[in-house]
């Protein structure tokens, strides 16, 4: 990208990073930007821990026999992988890092509505994470990340209570972030910034926040009840006194299905921003994309039973859940089609963020379509609890959520740090991640279809070729995740200043200096335009930007 509009860009003298750097200036900061950085540190730690667990899993599965670790240890490894990745990386990743940093700027506000609560949510997150990490250190738990009863409440060994309470606590961090976002979006918008002038990133986060507010407390009380049942050896899910373990699954999935959309909706928001910026076009069908976010959030609450087709749930309820699951494909497809239409005849700039966004579209589509397959009652009975399911949700969570996160991180990195990263290595690593990811998880679709069950440390020999492919892909994927860490950190030492708007993008965040000043805006902005008003070739408008 070469559309630099400044004559001689130079790092601004005062910005949010230039202030005091003593520990309390960071640990007691109320600046949403610094809190975003704190979250970035937090989720990176837990991603590394969860990734380490993934390495162990793929090493074990390279050979058919369970030779690296006993089954019991393997159970603990995949459980901790799931718990760490879901509750401590995926759910907070985009909202708490990029959302925290950008949402107030995008709506022209000086901060989130409740800065102290924002800081509190980070501490709650870290306390929950510390408890889970402690649980990992003393041996981990083997319940699976889903904590199904009666295994979790009665039979599982290990620090289940500690990890459950850790997850319970972290849930409130998610709730408080959602609360902050909802109030901020409602009350803090700049003059002239009507709902339909909001960037789609903001719409995505609004939909996400709704889920965080309405879903998370339900899983919180559920986990609390499991913890109590474990502690007192009697509880509401205990079949000995007439309790129903399937009720646990209802309550758990009432949150945990929509939780998938907590991971993917912010990612979709990121992709909308990137696609518009790098095709120099207004997002096609803006209102449809905006309402599709809300539609996905609402429909997401009506489909949880598709996780329970084989649980003993009523067949009639299963059929209803199956049918509604198909409906989720509609708003999801609207988004995919509209992004594609946005790219059509756009002035495409092949920068790294766009590579991630394109990767997202392809991989999310595969993840989404296999989700429709799994939502079909009959097919699910065949592949339930096989690697087909594992492949499906990794396409959504890694191919969707993580690629979106990386795309957003690359897109806004110059804004966050004021520095440009190495173009060459960023493109190489985007390619490596794409290849490594597909090599890891596509064979798992086949494995699952052939009947390889998940959650076992050994498997019949005929599955070995595909498993070796998958493990090899995982090594490539791992390298792909390490390279960005190196060049992004190296970019901090870079002397070259990124400029306010290295991509020539529109949006309030690109009109302020990089890194932004502590108060974000020197004078409160007034918005007079629709979002994504990129000058079109046939229009003779001056480029928008600073």
């Amino acid at each position: 990208m070469t559309s630099q509009h400044e004559s001689a860009p130079a790092l601004p003298e005062k910005h949010y990073l230039s202030g005091a750097w003593s520990p309390q200036d960071w640990l007691l900061t109320k600046d949403h930007k610094r809190i975003g950085i704190l979250y970035l540190v937090g989720i990176s730690i837990f991603f590394a821990l969860g990734g380490l667990m993934a390495v162990l899993i793929r090493m074990e599965l390279a050979t058919p026999s369970g030779d690296l670790m006993p089954a019991d240890v393997y159970n603990r490894v995949f459980t901790m992988h799931g718990v760490l990745m879901v509750f401590f990386f995926l759910i907070p990743s985009i909202p708490a890092v990029l959302g925290n940093f950008l949402l107030p700027i995008m709506i022209g506000a000086k901060d989130l509505a409740f800065p102290k609560i924002n800081l509190l949510s980070w501490y709650i997150y870290m306390i929950g994470g510390a408890m889970t990490f402690y649980g990992l250190l003393v041996g981990g738990i083997d319940t699976g990340w889903t904590f199904y009863t009666p295994l979790s409440s009665g039979y599982a060994t290990g620090p289940v209570l500690t990890v459950a309470v850790g997850v319970f606590i972290a849930g409130f961090s998610s709730i408080l972030t959602g609360l902050n976002f909802i109030v901020t979006i409602h009350r803090m918008r700049a003059p002239g910034l009507t709902w339909f002038r909001l960037p789609l990133f903001v719409w995505g986060h609004y939909a996400t926040s709704i889920i965080q507010i309405l879903g998370t407390p339900v899983v919180a009380i559920t986990i609390l009840l499991v913890g109590a049942e474990r502690l007192f050896h009697i509880g509401v899910f205990d079949p000995k006194i007439g309790g129903d373990p399937i009720l646990f699954q209802h309550l758990f999935w009432f949150y945990s299905h929509p939780a998938v959309y907590i991971m993917i909706l912010p990612s979709m928001g990121v992709v909308s921003e990137i696609i518009a910026a790098f095709s120099r076009k207004k997002v096609f069908g803006y209102k449809f994309v905006a309402f599709a976010s809300i539609g996905i959030a609402v429909l997401g609450f009506l489909v949880w039973g598709h996780h329970m087709f084989t649980s003993g749930q009523s067949l009639y309820a299963g059929a209803v859940f199956s049918f509604i699951t198909m409906l989720v494909a509609v708003p999801s497809a609207i988004k995919v089609f509209n992004w594609t239409a946005t790219l059509y005849k756009g002035a495409i700039a092949w920068d790294t963020p766009l590579l991630y966004a394109l990767g997202f579209i392809g991989l999310f589509t595969i993840g989404g379509l296999t989700g429709v397959m799994l939502g079909t009652l009959g097919f699910d009975l065949h592949v339930h609890d096989t690697y087909f399911v594992v492949a499906h949700f990794h396409y959504v969570m890694v191919g969707g959520a993580i690629l979106g996160f990386l795309g957003g991180l690359h897109y806004w990195w110059p804004k966050i740090t004021g520095k440009l990263y190495n173009e060459f290595w960023s493109k190489i690593s985007a390619g490596i991640i794409f290849i490594g990811f597909n090599l890891t998880f596509f064979p798992q679709f086949i494995l699952g279809y052939l009947g390889m069950p998940r959650r076992y440390h050994s498997y019949p020999e005929e599955f070995q070729v595909l498993n070796i492919l998958s493990s090899a892909g995982a090594s490539i994927l791992g390298i792909g995740f390490v390279i960005p860490v190196i060049y992004l950190l190296a970019s901090l030492a870079n002397k070259r200043y990124a400029g306010n708007n290295p991509w020539g993008a529109v949006g309030l965040e690109w009109q302020i200096p990089s890194p932004p000043p502590t108060e974000n805006f020197e004078t409160p902005p007034v918005v007079t335009d629709e979002p994504y008003t990129y000058p079109q070739p046939d229009e003779k408008e001056a480029p928008v930007g600073v």
Partner: protein, 111 residues
């Protein structure tokens, strides 16, 4: 900024109404409506009456003590929105239980 404050007597009246409904709900709890109603619906009549009274009391508290009357438009949206998702939780879970063969519900009858 003008300060809107409801008169003292509003609060007193609401409190008295809440007291009335509290005593009422205890009183009718001892009446078995099933004896006075057609077969079939009689069993749920007591529950329905008790829950209606509780709902009425909740509405009084929300409307007057929590100042939803006279607050911004978004407050009722938040309340109704939450209730809708609560209904979703109950209806879809209930749909499972009402149509499930009950042998799968109570696996062990001890003693």
């Amino acid at each position: 900024m003008s300060v809107h404050v409801a008169p003292l007597k509003t609060y007193i009246y609401v409190f008295l109404a809440l007291m009335f409904f509290t005593v009422l709900t205890v009183g009718v709890a001892f009446v078995n409506f099933a004896h006075h109603a057609p077969k079939g619906i009689g069993n749920v009549l007591n529950d329905a009456v008790a829950m209606s009274i509780a709902l009425t009391k909740a509405v009084l508290v929300v409307a007057f003590f929590m100042h939803v009357k006279g607050s911004t438009k978004i407050t009722p949206v938040v309340i109704w929105g939450t209730l809708i998702f609560m209904v979703i939780l109950f209806v879809f879970t209930g749909a499972d239980y009402l149509t499930r063969p009950m042998t799968t519900f109570v696996p062990v009858m001890s003693q």
